[in-house]
């Protein structure tokens, strides 16, 4: 449905994207994962015809995005990172406005937005500017869907949103995917990768890797251990000083230790205990997506 080939984009001194290629088949939920400044927003703006690439080519449903921009605009639903609906219009008026721009009606595609809109209905006459953050997000998604787009492009819909609302939002996206809509979504939260069919990891304008979230982390090419013990901060410093340890990063309750080839975990554990970390414990673990991301960032 979407083919991005060798796209680069530069703003003055900043190379926002370098030679990015991504294919998203019809009906896929694709997650673009990376921190602020990685190039996620630029890539999405290029795809929805708001920017022109310096080099490379993009197709949307088989049509060239640059020359056939009218087709793209008719069939894409775009939810930008910042709230961009009409604050002075009511919930209902915003929806009707977006429907009329696409020469349709709210009623015609009501089925698609029904599950989301019922949560908004009590506020139908409220000005959009006076809605809560979560409600604004639901309205923006409804407006992006009202013309029954083939592809939904969502730029960081869950940034700054609490963990409960994030879960609800992903549940909505999976429902839309079941309706057959192709979805591209960006996020800075690595733990959201598991919600996607496929993910792309992006950093400094470069696509580091794409793959299935369940298996992508297998590309992590070193033995990885979880170290636990009292006083995690000192334990971290002690581990960093070791010759047989390549890297140590805090990971929730544990420290993730990337081992050099000559590291013997039993030996490390014994020596740590001798150093006074009496409860120190090392166990091999499977790397996760964030482990891989940090490895690829180096």
């Amino acid at each position: 449905m979407i083919a991005i080939e060798g796209i680069s984009k530069r703003y003055d001194e900043v190379q926002a994207l370098r030679d990015v290629s991504i294919d998203v088949p019809e009906g896929e939920l694709f997650g673009l994962i990376g921190p602020d400044g990685a190039g996620k927003t630029t890539l999405f703006r290029l795809l929805v015809t708001l920017l022109l690439p310096d080099t490379g080519r993009m197709t949307f449903d088989g049509r060239d995005v640059v020359t056939d921009y009218r087709y793209v605009r008719r069939h894409v639903g775009y939810m930008p990172g910042s709230f961009s609906l009409y604050q002075d219009l009511s919930v209902r008026e915003n929806l009707e406005f977006f429907a009329s721009v696409f020469q349709t009606t709210v009623e015609a595609n009501y089925d698609l937005i029904k599950d989301i809109y019922v949560m908004l209905e009590p506020f139908a006459e409220r000005r959009a500017g006076a809605l809560s953050g979560g409600m604004k997000q639901k309205l923006a998604l409804s407006c992006a869907l009202i013309h029954k787009p083939k592809v939904l492009v969502l730029d960081e819909p869950t940034t700054g949103v609490d963990a409960v609302s994030r879960r609800e939002f992903w549940a909505m996206l999976r429902k839309l995917k079941d309706e057959g809509i192709t979805i591209l979504v960006s996020t800075p939260y690595m733990d959201e990768a598991a919600q996607c069919d496929r993910v792309g990891l992006i950093q400094d304008g470069q696509l580091l890797r794409t793959g299935d979230p369940a298996t992508i982390a297998q590309a992590f090419d070193r033995p990885l251990y979880a170290a636990t013990g009292e006083d995690a901060y000192r334990l971290l410093q002690a581990l960093r000083q070791r010759e047989d340890v390549e890297e140590v990063h805090p990971f929730g309750t544990a420290l993730h230790v990337t081992a050099r080839s000559d590291m013997d975990p039993d030996n490390v554990q014994r020596q740590l205990r001798e150093q006074g970390f009496t409860g120190a414990h090392l166990a091999p673990i499977r790397p996760g997506i964030e482990d891989l991301f940090m490895r690829l960032m180096r």
Partner: protein
């Protein structure tokens, strides 16, 4: 007067008939890293505003660094540092200008300021960028600088409101190592975050739901109490019961 770095009893804020913060009790110990969690709209920001002296409580008592929030807000502001994702430093100023500006605001003398500025720039590895305008630096660097600047006047307590939102995973961890180092020097850290792995790094965590303090304990105790494998699960169990949004 209390020995706690942050102390609250029955602290409440009402806006008309809406109770944003509803009788919260809190004692944050000096040198503690305290995670202040809650869903959007749970009342966290209102509570923080009362602690840093920007908003008068409706009722209840609270003190920060030993100063009463009703009568001593000016003293509180001298003894705390504050940074958030939304407001930290001036994008139009260079790294060095930001440091000088904030040092000046906090009344540091010129000599002290120069020395402190040099140390800070060296410590952050920003020597090559000290004359770079902030708008040209990556977000993660800005946030690390903002944290250092928030500590420029040796505050006893630093309030961090979502300091790591959108920051890359390596810088996010470097940021937490700076937090650990500050706590190690005896500075109390009061931090909010939406990253639940970061909740695990805190000595203690509180979770607000609809203006009420629904839980407050170490991450281990909370996980045991809620039979949860992670703080993410604890948070989900508590916060989904909330009715309010922002």
């Amino acid at each position: 007067m209390s020995d706690a770095a942050i102390h609250a009893r029955g602290l409440t804020k009402r806006f008309g008939d809406f109770t944003a913060v509803d009788h919260i009790d809190l004692d944050v110990r000096p040198g503690e890293i305290f995670g202040f969690l809650g869903a959007n709209g749970a009342g966290k920001t209102t509570a923080i505003k009362m602690f840093i002296g920007l908003l008068k409580p409706t009722e209840g008592e609270a003190s920060v660094a030993g100063f009463d929030v009703y009568r001593k807000s000016a003293s509180i502001r001298r003894h705390i540092g504050y940074m958030s994702q939304r407001f930290s430093l001036y994008n139009d100023l260079t790294v060095l200008e930001n440091i000088r500006f904030y040092g000046g605001v906090y009344g540091l003398r010129r000599k002290e300021l120069e020395q402190r500025g040099d140390e800070m720039i060296a410590h952050l590895g920003l020597e090559q960028h000290k004359d770079t305008r902030l708008s040209e630096l990556p977000l993660g660097w800005k946030q690390k600088l903002a944290f250092s600047v928030a500590l420029i006047h040796d505050p006893r307590i630093v309030f961090l409101d979502e300091p790591t939102g959108g920051v890359d995973p390596i810088t996010r961890r470097q940021f937490w190592e700076m937090i650990y180092a500050a706590a190690d020097r005896g500075i109390t850290v009061f931090v909010t975050t939406h990253y639940m792995d970061e909740a695990e790094y805190c000595h203690r965590v509180s979770i607000m739901v609809d203006g009420v303090m629904a839980a407050c304990a170490t991450p281990e105790e909370l996980k045991r109490q809620f039979s949860a494998a992670s703080m993410d699960e604890v948070f989900y169990q508590l916060a989904r019961a909330g009715q309010r949004t922002e």
